[in-house]
Structure formats: structure tokens, C-alpha cells
């Protein structure tokens, strides 16, 4: 029976091979050209094939040689951290830098196991003032400080 002995390498290999396949499939729309006059599809095709080959070797080798297990993934903290940043990007232009800073800080802090509401709020307000001072007053970035209501 085939057993995955090195899960880290196995899945890394599978990932590489999949991306390689995607590059070839998606890249098939682009003109290949000839070796002397390469079209936009030529280089991606080479890279895709290399990636499939390397991914295949890595995955197959992982069936023979033992390796460590993939460490547990705390999905929640990943989602909260990245989510807080994405949310900031979505709202900063309408809500303003001050409020979106506080929201980002409190939300991002909640990903830690040592989260404390009050502390996060204080840090958020402090950093909001700092960010406004550095980026809007100091570096003169074009960002609103307070909420703006666009019409139309």
C-alpha cells in the first residue's frame, strides 16, 4: 500500500504540480511562437513543465522517505489577522484613517490568546493618533481622517 511518509513534502509537491498544470492550461490561450521568436506563451509553458516535473519528484520522494507531520494550523487566527487587514483596506477611504485604525487594532488583537479589550482599545486610539500624525500630517498622504459620505 502506498503511504505518505513525508506529508510536508508530499503536499508541497502536489501544490507545485497543480500550479504548473494551471500555468500550462491557462497559458494555452497565449501564442507559443517559435524558439527564435517566442510568443507570450513560450516561457510560461517551460516554467509550467519544470514545475510539474519538480513537483512530481518531490511528491514521489515523499512516499519513500519519512518526514515530520504538517504542524497544526490555527485557521481562526490566520483568518482574523488577514481579515482585519482586508477590512481596513475596504473601509479606510469611507470611514477615515482614525476609525479604521482602531477597528484594525482591536480586531487584529483579538487573534491573540492574551487578548484584552481595554488594552487593545487604548493601543488603537494611540496608534490612530500616531498614524494620522505620521501619514497624513507628516507624509501628506491623500487619506481622509474622519468618515466621509460620498453621494452618487
Amino acid at each position: 500500500m502506498v503511504r505518505i511518509r513525508n506529508p510536508k513534502d508530499f503536499w508541497a509537491g502536489v501544490l507545485f504540480a497543480l500550479v504548473g498544470t494551471a500555468a500550462i492550461v491557462l497559458g494555452s490561450r497565449y501564442n507559443l511562437g517559435t524558439a527564435a521568436r517566442m510568443g507570450p506563451g513560450y516561457f510560461p509553458r517551460i516554467l509550467g513543465m519544470l514545475l510539474i516535473a519538480l513537483g512530481g519528484i518531490i511528491a514521489l520522494r515523499a512516499l519513500r522517505v519519512d518526514g515530520p507531520a504538517i504542524p497544526r494550523w490555527r485557521w481562526w487566527s490566520t483568518a482574523v489577522v488577514l481579515g482585519s487587514v482586508v477590512l481596513f483596506g475596504l473601509i479606510v477611504n469611507t470611514v477615515g484613517l482614525a476609525l479604521s485604525t482602531v477597528i484594525l487594532i482591536v480586531l487584529a488583537s483579538s487573534a491573540s490568546s492574551e487578548f484584552r479589550w481595554k488594552e487593545a482599545l487604548i493601543s488603537g486610539v494611540f496608534l490612530a493618533a500616531l498614524a494620522v500624525g505620521v501619514f497624513i500630517i507628516g507624509l501628506k498622504l491623500q487619506l481622509p481622517i474622519w468618515p466621509t459620505f460620498h453621494h452618487g
Binding site: A35, L54, V85
Partner: protein, 500 residues
């Protein structure tokens, strides 16, 4: 003397008030992030790149370079005082530096580290100035075939000297190359792999890739592991070294500087490799190797000189050949591209003020660091008492503002978050992100040179092996892979990286 003329030109640029200011800001920020865990020079440069749009290119590069060598100073401070390297390149300084601190010699260890770094920085600056002219003259003779082979050699060299699985690192390079060519193809005008997203026709931003892979991913994995921090073990007093200590340290400084300057030149080299190699050398040449790990001053002086020398000479391949050899240099390529400077041998002739100004600024920055660092140690230590749960949201905020301001659009922020997710995935699967970043910045250049070489040879791929220089470089790349794949060298390499 041509060299003196060049340096004089450099200093006339580096010593203008505005460039002095940016050298100071860069060095201080570098020290700060060198002290703080959880954020390294790559993520910091990514964070600051967008704010340098409005600056003169030379000021921007001076500031960003300061971050890299400043981080070497900051990293050694925390290694010595609390046994926690802020940067991987100062990890070996923990071994003896922290022992010295425990024995009440913290002041001597810090002074040794700072002076060794400064000495190495001075030598490396002159070294860069001396080596750059002949190297870029050589590079100007390169045709597209030579360039392509040089990039292959550079990329392979970078992963051979890095740690982790070789084959996975090569796969990461190719993944990086693939990501690098997303966007409009310069020759045909076709938008490749844009998934119908208009923002992607300009390609993926280097800031998003670097910040996601190096900044966000690091924070997320840090959150998963519980933090343990050692308290400051001793008061710092008497920042000076005794005559006996000086006598023991200076040969180590000389060796470290030489070794670091040389290793910084190699692809994949730079600060980290230099410091590890220097520690090994010091242990070998010592009369009594058993002192190492118990507070031997050579164990601080050598690696500290080496990491600073290596950090600086790693600019040489970038400035003369246009080839970045580590992730920080990849960010410098990004910075130059943003300011419409194509990295390569022509920078020296077309932009001499920028070239020599940047080199001279490294000496200026080093001087500022040695003068400012010691008095500021108290502040850095205070900053370390800020718990990580307060620190990381602040880092995220500055990252988010940095990315958002690239084009004032939420797309860049989402793209960065996507790379953050990928970065965590790569860390879980033990895939090094640095090779990907190198491939990413070299992708378009590599394709362009491949195309040109093949066009000139009328589609004959043997051009890469029939042109002698190109053949030598490709042979060297193959040789590197073969050598590393040999079983007993592989074992040695694994041992060498074990101490990390």
C-alpha cells in the same frame, strides 16, 4: 586616483542634509526592527517602499539600505542582552555575547560588537568601491545569453547556500518566475494570467509579495507559538573594553571582515552566512576552543564584523550585475524599478551620483550607528518590554497603510493578504519564501534575455553552451547542484545549518 574621485563624488551626494537625514532614518528604523522580533528587513523595506515614491531615488535607496545594515546592529544588541536574536544573522552572537553579559561584561560585549561592525563597515565600503568598477565593466560585455546564464547561476547559488531542501527551493524559484511574468507581456502586449482583473495587467506588486510572505505570515506563525522571553539579565555599565579584550578581539575582527566581505559577494550570501562561517572559523583557529559558548570575546567580534561586512558587500552583485542575491536585495531591485532605474552595470555610468552616493552613505550610516547605538540602547531595551500582543497589531497597521497607499486601492491590500495566506501555507509545508521572491523579481528580466538570446541565435538553444562565458556559468550552476546532492556534503550542510 580614480577610486578617490568616485568616493569624493559619493560623499558629496551622501553628505547633503537631506540624504544625511534619510541615512539616519534608515539606520534608526533598521536598528529598531533589528531589536524587535517578528519583523525583519524584507517586510520593513516592503512597508516603506510606497512612502518613497515622492523622494529622490538616491534618498530612497539610502534609507532602504540603512534598514538592512542597521538591522545588523540592532540584532546584536538583543542577542547580547537578552539572548534573543532580533535577526537570524545575529543568532551566533547569542552564543558568546549573552554569556559575556551574564558574567557582567555586557558593556564590553556591546562595545566589541559595535566597533567590530563599524570597522567591517568601513572596510566593506572601500571594498565595494574598488570591486565595482571592474565588475561592471565585465558585465557590460555580457550579451543576452550570458545574462540569462548569470541569472540561472545566481538563482541556483542563492538556494544552494540557503538552508532547507534544495529541490523545493528550486521549485519555489520557478513559482516565483511564474508569478513575476503575470501581467502585460512587453513584446506582444498580451495580458498574461490576469484572470480578467484589470489591476493584474500591471503585474503583481513586489510590495504585496514581500509583505505577505515575510510580514503577515511571520506574524501569524508567531501567534501560534507561545512567546517566551528572557528578562534582561544584567545592567549595562561601562561601555568599553579592556586592553586584554581588545588584544583578543582584533585578529577575530580582521578575519571576520575578510570572510564576510568575500561571502557577501556570493549568491545566497550576505549577513547570515557570513556570521555563521566566521564563528566556525574562530572556533577552529582558537588555541582553546572550549572557551567558546562560555563568553569568548572572539565569538562576538568575528561574527559581528562578518555579518556587517557581508550585509554591505551583498550590494555588489546588485549594483554591478543587477542580480539580487538575497531577499533584501530583491527588495532593492523593487525599489530601483519603482524609481525607473533598471538595475545593472549601466547604473554606474548613467547614474554615478546615485551609485557612489549610495556606497558612501553606507559608511556615513555606519558612523551614525556606532555613535548613536550605544547611547540609545536603553530605549531599545524599553521597547522590548512591550508585549508581542500589542506589537503585532501595530506592525499590521503600518503594513496595511503602506500597501494601501501604493495606489490608494483596496485591491493591493487584498492581494497582500492572499500572499500572507500563501506564506503561512509555505511555512507549514517548509518551503522557503526567499527563493520565490528572488525568482519573482528576476522573472521578466530572465524571459527577456532568453528571448533575445534565442532570437540572435535564430532559435538555436546551443548558444548558451557555445558562448564560453555563458557555458562556464551554466557549468558552475550544474556543478553546484551536483556537489550539494552528494550524500556526505549534504550531511555537512545540514550540520552547518543545524545551529540556527
Amino acid at each position: 586616483m580614480e577610486l578617490l574621485n568616485h568616493l569624493a563624488l559619493g560623499f558629496s551626494v551622501a553628505l547633503t542634509p537631506i540624504n544625511l537625514l534619510y541615512a539616519l532614518i534608515g539606520s534608526l528604523l533598521g536598528t529598531l526592527i533589528g531589536v524587535l522580533p517578528g519583523i525583519g528587513p524584507v517586510a520593513t523595506i516592503a512597508m516603506l517602499l510606497p512612502t518613497t515614491y515622492a523622494l529622490q531615488p538616491v534618498s530612497a535607496l539610502i534609507m532602504l539600505a540603512g534598514i538592512y545594515y542597521g538591522a545588523q546592529y540592532g540584532g546584536s544588541t538583543t542577542s547580547i542582552l537578552i539572548n534573543m536574536p532580533g535577526e537570524t544573522s545575529s543568532a551566533v552572537t547569542c552564543l558568546d555575547g549573552h554569556q559575556m553579559a551574564r558574567q557582567g561584561e555586557a558593556g564590553a560585549a556591546l562595545a566589541t560588537a559595535a566597533l567590530a561592525s563599524f570597522f567591517a563597515g568601513c572596510v566593506a565600503t572601500v571594498f565595494i568601491a574598488a570591486v565595482s568598477v571592474p565588475l561592471s565593466e565585465l558585465a557590460l560585455k555580457f550579451g543576452p545569453a550570458e545574462y540569462f546564464s548569470l541569472m540561472v547561476l545566481g538563482l541556483i547559488g542563492a538556494v544552494v547556500l540557503a538552508h532547507g531542501s534544495l529541490i523545493k527551493a528550486i521549485a519555489m524559484i520557478i513559482l516565483g518566475l511564474l508569478l513575476g511574468i503575470v501581467g502585460t507581456d512587453v513584446n506582444s502586449g498580451v495580458a498574461r494570467f490576469d484572470f480578467g482583473i484589470p489591476e493584474l495587467t500591471d503585474g503583481i506588486g513586489v510590495v504585496s509579495v514581500a509583505m505577505g510572505l515575510f510580514g503577515f505570515a511571520e506574524i501569524i506563525t508567531n501567534l501560534e507559538s507561545q512567546e517566551t522571553r528572557e528578562r534582561l539579565s544584567s545592567k549595562v555599565k561601562g561601555l568599553w573594553i579592556s586592553k586584554a579584550q581588545f588584544k583578543a578581539a582584533w585578529p577575530a575582527v580582521l578575519r571576520g571582515t575578510g570572510l564576510g566581505s568575500f561571502l557577501g559577494l556570493l549568491p545566497g550570501g550576505g549577513a547570515m552566512l557570513a556570521s555563521f562561517a566566521s564563528y566556525a572559523v574562530e572556533k577552529k583557529v582558537a588555541k582553546d576552543p572550549s572557551r567558546f559558548g562560555k563568553g569568548a570575546i572572539e565569538g562576538v567580534a568575528g561574527p559581528e564584523a562578518a555579518n556587517n561586512a557581508g550585509a554591505q558587500t551583498s550590494f555588489i552583485p546588485l549594483l554591478t550585475l543587477g542580480i539580487p542575491e538575497n531577499a533584501v536585495m530583491a527588495m532593492m531591485v523593487g525599489a530601483m524599478t519603482i524609481h525607473n532605474i533598471q538595475p545593472g552595470p549601466q547604473v554606474m555610468t548613467s547614474n554615478p551620483g546615485l551609485f557612489w552616493g549610495l556606497i558612501a552613505s553606507m559608511w556615513v550610516g555606519n558612523l551614525m550607528l556606532v555613535v548613536l547605538n550605544l547611547p540609545l540602547i536603553g530605549i531599545w531595551i524599553k521597547l522590548l518590554t512591550v508585549p508581542y500582543r500589542i506589537l503585532y497589531p501595530a506592525i499590521l497597521l503600518f503594513c496595511a497603510i503602506g500597501v494601501y497607499t501604493i495606489s490608494n486601492a483596496s485591491f493591493d491590500v487584498m492581494q497582500t493578504a492572499a500572499f500572507g495566506f500563501l506564506g503561512v501555507l509555505f511555512l507549514k509545508l517548509e518551503c522557503e519564501p526567499a527563493p520565490l521572491l528572488l525568482g519573482f523579481v528576476l522573472g521578466p528580466m530572465m524571459e527577456e534575455n532568453l528571448r533575445r538570446a534565442m532570437l540572435l541565435s535564430r532559435g538555436d538553444p546551443t548558444v548558451f553552451v557555445t558562448r564560453p562565458l555563458s557555458a562556464v556559468m551554466l557549468a558552475a550552476a550544474v556543478l553546484l547542484i551536483v556537489v550539494i546532492a552528494l550524500p556526505n556534503i549534504r550531511r555537512k550542510r545540514e550540520e552547518a545549518f543545524q545551529e540556527e
